[in-house]
């Protein structure tokens, strides 16, 4: 895996949304939605971005898709910087990065037949040689997501949520991308359909060697889907590691708390729930020092002043936490018993 070429590399990505106010609409502040995020994804790899609502996961996804201009940072897609590329030259490069959205209902234009939905990227990127080739590609895309060919002539409202989500995946695949951003792609589906879509995406990834940025808040699905996990809190990544390492031995108190909140299908299981106090602070005025210090159960004086940076341990497990500078015997993350949640 680690030898595969890097498809997407993001460094120090920032996206601040101005808050307009006053008579002239001058910015009166900023929402620091994403504030310095770095990661990379290799071919055939799935990186999951997890975190609670409002932590900036989706903004990262839309930023790498360049759906809006970025505040700062670099996004390198297949060796080309796309963060400052003008829209006209970016257009053809968009083929390489496609998206599947959360809501299967609003992600398909209700006034376009399925055929036209899927044909759109094929036509835009000039992938089809002629009319017959276009039809073949549409049929192939439908077949890839296990939908009958006669779906092409139908309208989106004739399909169920899971089927519509598969149409969305077919649209993304039709562009022959290198990487797909799945923005909560299965969160809106019910459990059985969710499993179906997740398995479909895994199969497709194996067949086509796709890279995937899997944005989710559902740790059980993430654990099933992913190779690596990045945990986000208030616009920053606090921990990045292989699935096994992160679920087995979290190295950040926030991850530890998140994992302890995952429901376990065993009512007799003994587990230590870590219940975080308070709410997520406002991304308009993020806390000083470590952003998590207002809710961290192990907070120290240093955390309020100094911002921790992502540092690897011996195995390459990255975490941004001052606790790791303490002697190992005093680090509460080492002592805390293994969380009930374990990578299989």
């Amino acid at each position: 895996m680690s030898s595969a070429p890097v498809v997407l590399e993001v460094s120090d990505l920032k996206k601040h949304f101005p808050i307009r106010g006053g008579l002239l609409g001058t910015p009166v502040g900023h929402v620091y939605a994403v504030d310095g995020v770095s990661f990379s994804i290799r071919r055939g790899e799935t990186l999951s971005l997890v975190g609670e609502s409002g932590c900036g996961k989706s903004t990262v996804g839309k930023s790498v898709l360049r759906l809006f201009p970025l505040t700062s940072g670099q996004v390198v897609l297949d060796g080309k910087r796309i963060d400052d590329m003008p829209a006209s030259s970016l257009r053809m490069l968009r083929r390489k990065i496609q998206v599947v959205f959360q809501d299967p209902f609003s992600s398909l234009n209700p006034r376009m037949r399925v055929r036209d939905v899927i044909a759109e990227p094929i036509i835009n990127f000039g992938l089809a040689k002629d009319r017959a080739d276009l039809d073949r590609r549409v049929a192939h895309a439908l077949d890839t997501v296990r939908l009958p060919t006669d779906a092409a002539g139908r309208w989106p409202h004739e399909f169920s949520g899971g089927q519509r989500q598969r149409i969305g995946i077919a649209r993304a695949l039709a562009a022959e991308p290198d990487i797909i951003v799945c923005d909560e792609a299965v969160s809106a589906l019910d459990v059985s359909v969710k499993a179906q879509i997740v398995n479909l995406m895994q199969d497709l990834q194996k067949e086509l060697g796709l890279a995937m940025l899997f944005i989710s808040h559902d740790l059980a699905i993430v654990e099933h889907m992913t190779h690596r996990v990045a945990v986000m809190y208030l616009g920053k990544i606090v921990e990045v590691a292989d699935k096994r390492s992160l679920f087995g031995a979290p190295r950040h108190p926030y991850t530890e708390a998140l994992l302890s909140a995952v429901p376990v299908p065993d009512p007799t299981a003994k587990r230590d729930r870590i219940v975080l106090q308070g709410d997520v602070p406002s991304p308009i005025r993020p806390p000083s020092g470590c952003r998590f210090h207002t809710r961290c159960p192990y907070v120290m004086d240093r955390c309020r002043k100094e911002e921790p940076v992502l540092t690897p341990d011996a195995t390459g497990h990255l975490a941004a936490c001052h606790l790791h500078d303490l002697p190992a015997s005093q680090n509460p993350l080492n002592k805390a018993g293994p969380t009930a949640f374990r990578a299989a």
């Binding site: 959205f101 609003s106 234009n109």
Partner: protein, 311 residues
């Protein structure tokens, strides 16, 4: 269940007695067969059917007015003034002896022409302004301030003021009412465009490499048409009333042209003794406006079933 019903790859011998293996559900798309034809349409959209029928009736009257036993609506007959409705004058005659029946039928032409023209022109202009200002912040801030200014004047007063600047003619009435209606339409379209731009399918289209003009044309425009069509019917109804008001106060269609507003204006002086001169054009205007409004309500229900309410 017989062994042949087992999915492939499963050995029937491994299944314990009394247990059956469920077949994987195939992706069957059900054939939706709503009742077709005229009766089906009547059943599903009774409001639209009634409104449409009445409006078609009025259209027929307007188009075929010369063949519906009318005479020249401007022909004077001073000897036969203010006659009660009779076999000769079905709706009576006015103070100059003109046949009210003929005048009312010909008047449908003016009302419908004004209503449809204003609805069409205001929709097209509003659609263009709304889509452009929904996409360009600069255009938006300038155009919408102008629209705010126009909207601060009641539309009937604006139409009267515009009519005061020109000569009275059907064409000028249409232009005046259209200008007064454009701000509302462009506001509506702009609002719809702004919300559509945030839709995931528009973002997916951007990711799929669609250029902005094509996004406007393929993704924004078709989804704007539904609410706009409904709005257009209401504009049509309001324009017919505005036309009648303008004619009634003498600021609209010139008196030589029989329009419902003109007929009512002329009958106003005799209202207490000869009410039928005002009554017949008024009832025609009411029925036409009702028809257009019913059609609009029906359209809205058909387009957005969540808002549907029974007649």
């Amino acid at each position: 269940m017989s062994a042949t019903a087992l999915p492939p790859g499963i050995d029937p011998a491994l299944i314990p007695p009394g247990l059956a293996i469920a077949q994987p559900m195939p992706d069957v798309l059900p054939q939706v067969k709503p009742r077709k034809g005229f009766i089906g349409f009547l059943r599903r959209y009774p409001t639209m059917a009634i409104g449409g029928f009445l409006l078609l009736l009025m259209l027929g009257i307007a188009v075929f007015a010369p063949y519906l036993f009318t005479r020249d609506p401007t022909a004077l007959a001073p000897a036969l003034r203010t006659r009660e409705p009779s076999a000769q004058f079905w709706f009576g005659s006015d103070m100059l002896g003109r046949d009210v029946y003929s005048r009312v039928l010909y008047g449908a032409r003016v009302s419908l022409l004004v209503g449809f023209s204003v609805a069409l022109l205001a929709s097209v202009a509003g659609l263009f302004i709304g889509i452009v200002s929904g996409f360009s912040r600069l255009v938006d801030s300038i155009v919408m301030r102008v629209m705010d200014g126009l909207m601060s004047i009641p539309s009937i007063l604006l139409a009267i003021a515009l009519m005061a600047l020109t000569r009275g003619s059907v064409q000028n009435v249409i232009i005046a009412i259209t200008i007064a209606d454009i701000p509302r339409v462009s506001r509506l379209v702009r609002g719809v465009v702004l919300s559509l731009r945030e839709q995931p399918y528009v973002e997916a289209a951007v990711a799929a490499g669609t250029r902005t003009p094509m996004i406007m044309l393929k993704h924004i425009l078709p989804n704007t048409l539904a609410p706009l069509t409904v709005q257009a019917t209401y504009i049509c109804a309001a324009a017919m009333i505005t036309e009648a008001i303008l004619s009634f106060i003498g600021a609209g269609t010139p008196p030589i042209i029989p329009s419902w507003g003109n007929i009512m204006a002329e009958g106003r002086a005799l209202w207490q003794v000869k009410p039928y001169i005002v009554f017949f054009p008024a009832i025609f205007l009411s029925i036409t406006v009702l028809a257009v409004n019913l059609l609009g309500d029906g359209l809205r229900d058909a387009i957005d079933p969540r808002l549907a309410k029974r007649l």
